[in-house]
């Protein structure tokens, strides 16, 4: 939901970002692990409060409502849910844009190649006249 599949490229789920986050957490300290489980519990608690069911049992529109509310506090986080949104988004982006789907398919990253010459800028408008030195 944070980075969905679209016409351009696969999303975070398809890029197996969940496995990346699992691996990351397995290697993290106890505080980071408990922040993550507290966050997941808070999401389920919110789903129960709103729809009387866990998050994963909610339908797409309901899940979207929950995520939207979490994201509203992104710039000034006040609640557990706001803070968890920042955490889950950070790790999702980190995992996605370091994956083949994110870096190569979505962003069309061209680096890490063997070139015979460095490609110069070939836009005439970037070569505007220079001032005299």
């Amino acid at each position: 939901m944070i980075i969905p599949t679209d016409a351009h490229s696969p999303g975070a789920s398809a890029a197996k970002v969940a496995a990346f986050i699992d691996d990351l957490l397995a290697d993290s300290d106890a505080a980071a692990k408990s922040a993550w489980t507290r966050g997941l519990e808070a999401v389920d608690a919110d789903a129960h409060r709103r729809y009387n069911k866990p998050f994963l049992a909610a339908n797409a529109a309901q899940q979207e409502e929950i995520l939207k509310a979490m994201a509203e506090g992104e710039l000034e986080p006040k609640t557990e849910l706001h803070r968890f949104f920042i955490g889950i988004k950070t790790q999702t982006l980190s995992g996605y844009y370091t994956s083949p789907a994110g870096l190569l398919k979505d962003l069309q990253y061209k680096g890490n190649a063997a070139l015979t010459a460095y490609p110069p800028c070939n836009h005439p408008d970037h070569h505007r006249p220079e001032a005299k030195k």
Binding site: I2, L67, L93, Y109, A113, C121
Partner: protein
């Protein structure tokens, strides 16, 4: 592959060289080519580039996906080529409370030449003779005219790409062809020129054509993870091979030098070292001792060599320690590049450059000395900027994609930090490393002038970025703790006066005539540019004198 020895030679060499970084490597080359026999010791192992360098890797091939992205946990040891980026508990150092210091050590043959940023800028008399202009501290005991031939010599050997510009504060050198600018670099470089700032491309010890048997750069990026085609200068490909080919070099890795040993005649007779693996003690004998183990490690060896420090009649050994000012930066987007077609901007990991422009002819009211800036942008590996973009879903994904080619930044490459006596390192008598060698306690803080330089740079960068039409999304907030730029210098500074300096103008110890100390330790000031090229030039000059007088 360089030939190494596991033996512990008992014969006397003409010189023993401690360290194989930029300076130790050059000393080995210069002395052997002039007919001397040398024993070269390094505290670290011999690297195997195919195993130890992480080149041509995508982030998903690295254990925690590299360091490209902002991290939320400490790096795993394997993340950044551990041999080259060591913060190892086996050789610690200590600091005073409230005085953080960063010391990036690379205990490996090749030292920090394996991961350096390759920026190779000459100092000018604006740097060497700054004290005469503003009255603070002391001039270098050498002038540009003294060093220029050695800059030529070093550049011709290592290969430096760059453009000839004619800026008096950034002397031109013997350059290989310069690298082309990418779009973001060109936009910012032209903006800087329009503003009257001395802009050019970073001058890089990175080959734009084959040079002295080394391959030209193929622009794969990630140079600081090790370059095993030898397109970037390091000791393994550039200075140690010619030393070896003379047949006069014996190279012994895994040799942790503890101290310089003195003879009864008041001259050094060699060094004592410990085998890194067996922890057994040995002595190496030589007519000359070259300490080139890095600014701090060389100083540590001298401090550990005698009570009160070896060759310290001046009392300044360990003092006047500095690192250049860093941490000022501006990051954002250049709207003219938003949505641009994908291109490879990641191949050279360095870009446009602005030489120092402060306190040359005019006098700034708030500070003395100056700084240089670097500017780069475009599609670099992972979009770190994405973390600061609010929202989620398809619209966030599209915004990130759209902004990816437009990312750009300007940062302070090196700001001059003033030398102060109280900024120092000394031996911490309570702590030893894994080989039983007492460690350094480092005590360095920034002063008002240092902070004013950071502030001025920060404001100037905002001005340039805005003038380029850029949208600023974040501004560097802190003056980084000293050491972090890995431009640490001072500690055994050179000078004409033996009462106020440790080394003479040729990097020979005033007190002990057969000990030379090559490296940043000799610097009386930081200057306003990257230090390595100047260190290497001083090394060649010192070696030439050593041989002449041997």
């Amino acid at each position: 592959m360089l030939k190494i020895t596991r033996e512990t030679p008992s014969r006397e060499f003409d010189a023993v060289i401690v360290g194989t970084g930029p300076c130790g490597g050059f000393a080995a080359k210069e002395l052997t080519e002039r007919g001397m026999t040398v024993l070269v010791l390094d505290a670290g192992p011999m690297p195997v580039p195919a195993r130890d360098f992480a080149r041509h890797e995508y982030p998903w091939q690295q254990p925690s996906r590299g360091l490209a992205f902002e991290r939320r946990r400490p790096a795993r040891p394997s993340d950044r080529v551990p041999l080259m980026w060591q913060q190892h508990p086996d050789h610690p150092f200590t600091t005073d409370p409230g005085k953080p210091f960063t010391w990036i050590r690379s205990r490996v043959v090749g030292g920090r030449s394996l991961h350096w940023s390759r920026a190779s800028h000459r100092f000018s008399d604006y740097d060497f003779k700054a004290a005469s202009r503003d009255g603070y501290g002391e001039d270098w005991p050498v002038a540009y005219a003294d060093i220029a031939p050695y800059y030529d010599h070093v550049e011709e050997h290592i290969g430096v790409s760059g453009y000839t510009e004619g800026y008096p504060q950034l002397p031109d050198g013997k350059f290989l062809p310069g690298m082309p600018y990418n779009c973001a670099e060109l936009i910012m470089r032209n903006t800087a020129l329009r503003m009257g700032l001395p802009a050019t491309h970073r001058r890089l010890a990175q080959l734009t054509r084959p040079h002295k048997g080394r391959a030209a750069c193929h622009y794969c990026g990630a140079c600081t993870n090790g370059c095993d085609v030898g397109a970037m200068f390091n000791s393994l490909v550039s200075t140690l091979p010619p030393a070896e080919s003379t047949g006069r070099m014996v190279l012994r890795p895994d040799s942790v030098v503890r101290a310089v040993l003195m003879g009864k005649d008041g001259k050094a007779r060699g060094v004592s070292y410990i085998d890194r693996n067996t922890k057994l003690d040995y002595e190496a004998r030589a007519k000359f001792v070259i300490v080139a183990a890095s600014t701090l490690e060389s100083t540590r060896i001298l401090l550990n060599s005698a009570s009160g420090g070896l060759g310290n009649s001046s009392g300044v050994l360990g003092h006047y320690l500095m690192d250049q000012i860093a941490g000022a930066s501006v990051t954002g987007f250049l709207p003219q590049l938003r949505g641009a077609a994908p291109r490879n901007d990641d191949g050279k990991s360095a870009g446009a450059f602005i030489a120092n422009f402060r306190n040359l002819k005019d006098k700034h009211p708030k500070f003395i000395r100056g700084y240089c800036m670097s500017m780069n942008g475009g599609q670099t590996a992972s979009p770190g900027f994405a973390l600061a973009m609010p929202g989620y879903g398809a619209s966030l994904k599209e915004r990130i994609r759209n902004h990816y080619p437009a990312w750009a930044r300007i940062y302070m490459s090196a700001g001059e930090m003033l030398p102060r006596f109280e900024n120092r390192c000394e031996i911490d008598t309570n702590r030893k490393d894994a080989w039983g060698v007492p460690v350094l306690r480092i005590s360095v803080t920034h002063g008002d002038n240092d902070r004013a330089i950071w502030q001025d740079g920060s404001e100037k960068m905002k001005e340039i970025f805005t003038e380029a039409g850029g949208e600023i999304t974040s501004v560097g907030k802190q003056l980084n703790p000293p050491g972090g730029l890995i431009h640490e210098v001072g500690g055994c500074r050179m000078g004409n006066n033996p009462k106020t300096s440790v080394l003479d103008p040729f990097c020979r110890m005033h007190d002990i005539k057969n000990v030379y100390v090559f490296g940043g330790g000799a610097f009386p000031t930081t200057g306003s540019y990257h230090p390595t090229l100047t260190m290497m030039a001083l090394t060649v000059r010192g070696c030439e004198r050593l041989v002449r007088e041997a």
